[in-house]
């Protein structure tokens, strides 16, 4: 629907597709959009038949930022609350166990950049544009970018992007670690969906365990050992692990259930 900002939810097999639909504002992360993301993510995370999620922006642009027209009315306390409330969808994205693939065409600026990097796997067209645009409006990066960006691109490039609000295109993004899979313009969604479908066939508990571990980044070797000791014995006893062994010896492709 043209004028109403929302997050459309669709299913393609075991993949839930969340489309930021706020075309008039170039899919800006308005209060309405952020609010709509929460139940959409909750539903996808809770549904055992959903094994992967794709997040995409309607009509060829990912998300151009926050809703600047409202910012001027925010007191410091209200401003803090608005940013603090974002952890509802950020936790669902980063602490959930269902892997998320971003499909980025056009602009991923400001809050849009943060949204893309809160995903596990970033697919982008080579002419997509990434920018930590916050500084240009007198704000600091939020949406978890201070945590997600350096772990992908290293401290030097992260500081440069965040402090000068420089624009990085998809191609450079692939070189420096922002983009995992680079596509031709117009192909990001198709590729993202294909990646998500592959993830949907993987053993869900195993994928979830990897995702859970990285939500605690950074950690050292001893922390890794502790996380393994907690989770691997249970995984070893799972039906999916037994199915994998059965399929291996029978030279078949395993079918994983998430149990």
């Amino acid at each position: 629907m043209g004028d109403i900002a929302t997050v459309d939810v669709a299913r393609e097999g075991a993949v839930a597709i969340l489309t930021i639909n706020n075309v008039k504002q170039r899919n800006a992360m308005t209060v309405v959009v952020k609010a709509a993301l929460v139940p959409a993510l909750e539903a996808a995370n809770d549904d055992p038949d959903v094994r992967a999620i794709v997040i995409v922006g309607a009509e060829g642009t990912f998300c151009a930022g926050g809703d600047v027209s409202l910012f001027g009315d925010l007191t410091p306390a209200k401003g803090r609350q608005v940013v603090f409330d974002q952890r509802r969808f950020l936790h669902l994205m980063i602490r959930g166990e269902t892997p998320i693939v971003a499909a980025v065409e056009g602009f991923a600026f400001g809050a849009g950049f943060s949204l893309a990097l809160a995903c596990d796997h970033v697919v982008a067209a080579r002419d997509a544009k990434f920018c930590a645009a916050f500084n240009k409006i007198g704000l600091m990066p939020d949406g978890g970018l201070l945590w997600t960006l350096p772990q992908r691109v290293g401290a030097g490039r992260a500081r440069d992007m965040m402090m000068t609000a420089s624009v990085v295109d998809g191609e450079e993004g692939a070189r420096i670690g922002i983009v995992d899979s680079l596509t031709e313009p117009g192909q990001a969604f198709e590729t993202a969906l294909a990646k998500a479908q592959r993830l949907a066939k993987a053993a869900p508990l195993a994928v979830g365990a990897v995702k859970a571990a990285f939500s605690r980044y950074p950690f050292d070797l001893e922390d890794a050992f502790a996380m393994e000791l907690d989770a691997q014995p249970a995984l070893m006893l799972s039906e999916d692990a037994a199915e994998a062994r059965r399929a291996f010896f029978a030279k078949q492709t395993p079918v994983f259930k998430g149990a």
Partner: protein, 260 residues
Amino acid sequence: MDNSAPTVTRDQDGAVAVLTVSNPKRRNAFAPEIRQALSDHMSDIATDDATRSILITGAGGTFSAGGDLSTMQDMTPFEARERVRSGAGVVNALWASEKPIVAAVDGYAFGAGLSLALLADWIVAGDDAKFCASFGKVGLMGDLALFWTLPQRVKAGKARRILMLADVVDAAEALDIGLVDAVAPKGGAFEAAMKKAQALAAAAPLPNRLTREALGRYPAKLDDMLSYEAHGQGALFNTADATEGFAAFLEKRRPNFKGA
């Protein structure tokens, strides 16, 4: 005045404070006088509202060849420990800087020189520059926060060679591995650094101060950063610069940030 004494001079170019490390007889080796001078300048700059960014470079075409070996005669472990501990002062002065720092590296950034360069937010190298954690060559380990700064820029495989084997890294490789952010033609590092320093001086200062502070908390976990950004952003929403920023965005013009 003896201009061969180790020192750090300060010049001002508009809103950019230029700090030049000089120890000409020893290729700008990082003597105690230099540590002190840097700390003193950083103190002055902290209360100087006219300065919005800092550029650090070395005099005479080289950045810094490292610690001064001639001063490392026999000392007890405790004396040595105290010597290293006193280096923490300049590290903290740079780390706590509210104003962004760029480094222009020509020639050698060896040992403490490498550590110093890595304390900057943004580093440009002349194409003949060379980087080396030369500590290892004489039986020492890295200091001046090298083990905190280097792994944040350079991935583990290369980082281990640099730290444990004292590999010499040239400018092109330094760019490739993220050790530096840009490479300029020989002799051009200063100009490139100044351009970046001026861009940073024109950027909104308060958000960058908080960004620098947040990143200084590395290795913060997700929730720590989320809390930090919420509090920081709250404080920023009401600033004159944010109001100017929102207006400029909606009016589709360039913002003019004052630092308040």
